[in-house]
Point group: D2
């Protein structure tokens, strides 16, 4: 069997060592997939058993990503769900929207634990798919089984889930930033929350595109899909759950000339007066037990400060002139916004400490 | 006399050539000052007569900025307002906030035309300076003489002004983007306009600062001065004039890892329903005669497309779900946001074509 | 006729104005082609009569390149050599290697002046094409008519040429940097000159390529085509002419995470002792009449200082310990390395001042 | 006592766990110092006992570097060598050139193991300091005790050393790239080796400097200290030892617009013919037992591929036309070029596995 062990355990498991989980990664050559390999290769309780990547099938992982030295000797394989189900007990699926539905269905049927990093199982209402994604969902029944994998707000459900839908990168930063205010009914009902988000270009995925060549992105900065971005229904679904009422948001994503990193700046009109200090205190209380959420002393979160980690940094400011809260929320779009959070979800599903394999410091400079 | 002629005219003015205006630049070694030199050295009707820069006094301009080849042989001088008044008929002042008041006062007293790129003469209400700038204005009487130099909205006043206060970079992009909607009473009165702006780092000025070293700014993106940025009163003053009523805005500037470029994304709650097409049409009508404002076919302006130019690109989108307009407005912070607009103002003050010396194409890639 | 006039002449040519030359640009949507449009649109003696771009045929130039405001209203056309010959008196051809041969042949046959920015007419020896370019030259007879368009070293030939082969970007920086030493027999005969060159990514052309996406080029820096780059024979051909003997060089190009700019660092073992001061003096003498070559006070040229211009900056240092000269030579790969030099060649072919349309200052910051 | 434990061991050492080493970091707020904290906080056998940083004394480490989450709660202290000697058994010193001499002397006198990341103990010949560093060495006797800490070539000496001088970033990449050829007498004696090196800006240290502001470094690329860089004697000292004869090199460092990463391109004239394949094979043999050196299949190493790691990637190409080898060698200047290598040295000094705490995969994208 082509099992791979992370080098940290190279002397081999001692007799007392707990058994290790065999995990698979489907779509392992995209940016999220590769980040999964990076993080999983340092996780103390898992072995990467299989990593599929259709375009790179047969190639050494280190040939495509020389940085992944712990994966030395391991090769990408073509996607064969049966082989994955055989080799792995838990599977991460990182495929483009619409492509994971049937793969996930099969793995769930084979009683594998599944964490889907794509969009196919995030929305509870199947009718939203045609509207926002322009395709009809092929396994709507599975949507009921799926748990939205934002651990800070769905910890218990995730712990008992077989299928977790890992949130999108934008929704992760946005929901963590808005949830305390919204769940405590601080947001005025009649004014939509405005979300102005900025992402580095790894968020656009790994494929050749003239628009993302360096000379094109250099000194370039723009909004895209204004009012139509597909993460919108996911944000509204979760906010509605927190608010106990329907929520409409105005969401404008931007691309900035960075590789990694995501910042959401959010404008919430407040129902009642509250000071900056009081609102920060509330946020701190809400997240007191959340190991990956940091409520800042100041108002400005910066994705640089969480790069390469599973952290989310949140800044809170109240503007008394206009009775608004300005919330900034920063994550690494490939970390807490994708691979890191997926591993956090796995830890919860397995009953392991939530932070396992996710404690390492971020890269400075 | 230390007059400098741009090389384009090297054969010497022919007998029929119109007389050239002698201009001075005070604070010529900062980014805005240097951009003034770059643009003025290609302007067909002016000679750069004097360029002051205290820290670089005595040095060749091309030693500090090798790019400024047309300034070959010319040296920065120390600031001596009397010398400037003697050498130049019109003067651009590019000094830090608070430092231009007395210099401008002296030049105005000497009957020189003055375009101040700083903040000292932008606010009509002297009492706003202590509040936003933390200093008391030393020549409040001059504020009445000063014209706010946004040509698209103050063309006539500028034409007859002796003292023009060149707008800040953020206010330029923001006001051009909001003015059509606000002046036509499309903005709901009870919901503050939200302005989320992003700027490259040349906007922070040219001085050694650990925070702006490449390894610190690399992959860095953050908001700053949330709710307290000093461009706020300037924005509100002009919007109030356009609206005919007091206006409060929520303004959040961000720094993005770019050198030049500024994008403002603005959220206006509409008083009545209007389609995207209709709103774009309105914007096109309003700016039909403005040579430097381009209303886009799409909704997303990009500062890359106007880099090195005096253009402002504006994108307009109406979100029917929330009855909001999302306006994006992009400029080059050193061009239309500073030096380019200053020259546009000079052109108007001199009765020259508005576009003189400002027609060149922007740098691609 | 679809003639286009640059806005600088908008008042229209006065009766005394000299007639303007109609020029065409073939391959106008690549980076070099677009830079040609940028520069030509500001040139006082030409009108852009036609601009072809097969992939963008029918689109407005400003739709593809919003920066090219002076080209407003003009459209790219599909390449039809007959139409080009009809519309234009002089033609710039900016096509990939091997694709310009037949187009150029046709334009030359139609008695048009041609400046080819590609590689098809740079090598005098047709047998070098199969070896370095892997195709056989289809019009070898034309190679004899073609003049190598490095104006500083072929001024007279260019002036009387009908077909000019614009040098490659690397050879331009390299030859300008080496020619004074080599032509004065300062380079030791038995030690090959070593050329370590670094280029921004616009030098790799404008097409979708996974390797040049921002997240891939970010923090990336590498050599490529070590010892096999196709600019090698061009460099050796010209050096041999200067030296009066065969010359072999070791040439290693690198890609650095920049958009524009090219730096060549060159190591010449000297035949005899010479001081840094004496060698700089020699370089200054050689280039005394060259308006676009600047020999620096120091040893380190920087492409940033010549960005957006047709300048070449050269730094000269002699290391007495090893009796070597270290020459650094910096250009803008799209300026002096492509479009700028092509226009300099046109100026010479037309008997105009060499600097016409090329004097503008470079962008600061 | 202010001891700090990395969170990975949070459950506390089990009775069977080996004792942990208390380490100190002097100069911990510079880029190398911070990278030491990052790596040490994940090292399974050490506790960071003390971290000094004069300018930041008293501040929380995570206030200065939010990325260093494992250092939560720990503060920088002012440098007091006595306190360091009391708290730590092994000490990393990361101070500017000339500033570590007396501190190291004191720690050595207190029988602490010392790894000095600065230049003060790298040169065996004290007389080279005045010449290259412009100061006289204050403890020349200690130079005899100091071991040059390039583990791949000094493993045994390091294992028994009390004082290790960690090599400079440039020398590390250069020596690893040249040593196989030089030690096997492949380099021609009469032709100096040419080294053209390129470094990201974190190599220039962490302090406010106008030249390194983003708008100044943007699109900037230049050589510096041509022929006079202070890493030259260190390179020559070690090459001479490998060659068994005096060696002079020509070394030109460049700064490229990156944050991290260092690439050296080296040109070695060969004494005898050898094929690329044979030379690669030789390199592979030489480094067969070196866990951090990777000899590539191709000729072009890229620092991106080793970012955040302690790896060195080496590409080897032989040019038969000129009988030269072109060696490319890439490291992370803060990893193998500083902090990573320092920890590798600690591991050897302690008799631990060489790779302890240094196995993690590098950041992708």
């Amino acid at each position: 069997m082509q099992t791979h062990r992370s080098p940290r355990t190279s002397p081999g498991p001692s007799p007392a060592a707990p058994p290790r989980l065999r995990v698979g990664v489907i779509g392992a050559s995209g940016y999220s997939g590769a980040e999964l390999l990076r993080l999983l290769s340092g996780h103390p309780r898992v072995d990467i058993a299989i990593a599929t990547a259709d375009r790179s099938a047969g190639r050494l992982i280190t040939e495509v990503y020389p940085q992944l030295t712990p994966c030395q000797g391991m090769r990408f394989t073509a996607l064969d769900p049966r082989a994955v189900a055989r080799e792995a007990d838990a599977v991460f699926v990182a495929l483009p929207p619409g492509e994971s539905t049937m793969v996930v269905a099969r793995l769930v049927a084979a009683s594998r634990r599944v964490i889907d990093l794509g969009a196919d199982f995030r929305l509870h209402n199947a009718r939203l798919y045609p509207r926002w994604y322009h395709w009809r969902h092929r396994r709507p029944a599975l949507l009921r089984q799926s748990v939205y994998g934002l651990p800070e707000w769905h910890r218990e459900e995730i712990a008992s889930a077989r299928l977790v839908a890992n949130p999108g990168c934008y929704p992760t930063a946005i929901l963590l930033g808005l949830a305390p205010a919204v769940s405590r009914a601080l947001a005025a009902a009649n004014v939509p929350i405005i979300i102005d988000a900025k992402s580095g270009l790894s968020g656009a995925g790994r494929s050749a595109n003239l628009s993302f060549q360096l000379p094109e992105t250099h000194e370039s900065l723009e909004a895209y899909q204004i009012g139509t971005h597909r993460h919108t229904p996911e944000i509204e679904q979760e906010l509605a759950r927190l608010a106990g009422r329907g929520m409409a948001v105005t969401f404008t994503p931007h691309l900035v000339p960075m590789s990694r990193g995501l910042l959401a700046t959010m404008y919430v009109t407040l129902r009642r007066s509250v000071t900056t200090a009081a609102l920060r205190r509330l946020y701190r209380e809400v997240y007191a037990a959340a190991p990956f959420v940091r409520v800042l002393e100041g108002g400005s979160a910066n994705p640089k400060d969480v790069r390469g980690t599973n952290q989310c940094a949140i800044g809170v400011t109240v503007l008394t002139r206009t009775r608004q809260a300005v919330i900034t929320s920063a994550i690494d779009n490939l970390g807490k916004g994708a691979a890191g959070q997926a591993i956090q979800n796995l830890n919860l599903m397995m009953g392991w400490p939530e932070t396992l394999g996710l404690e390492q410091a971020g890269l400075i400079a």
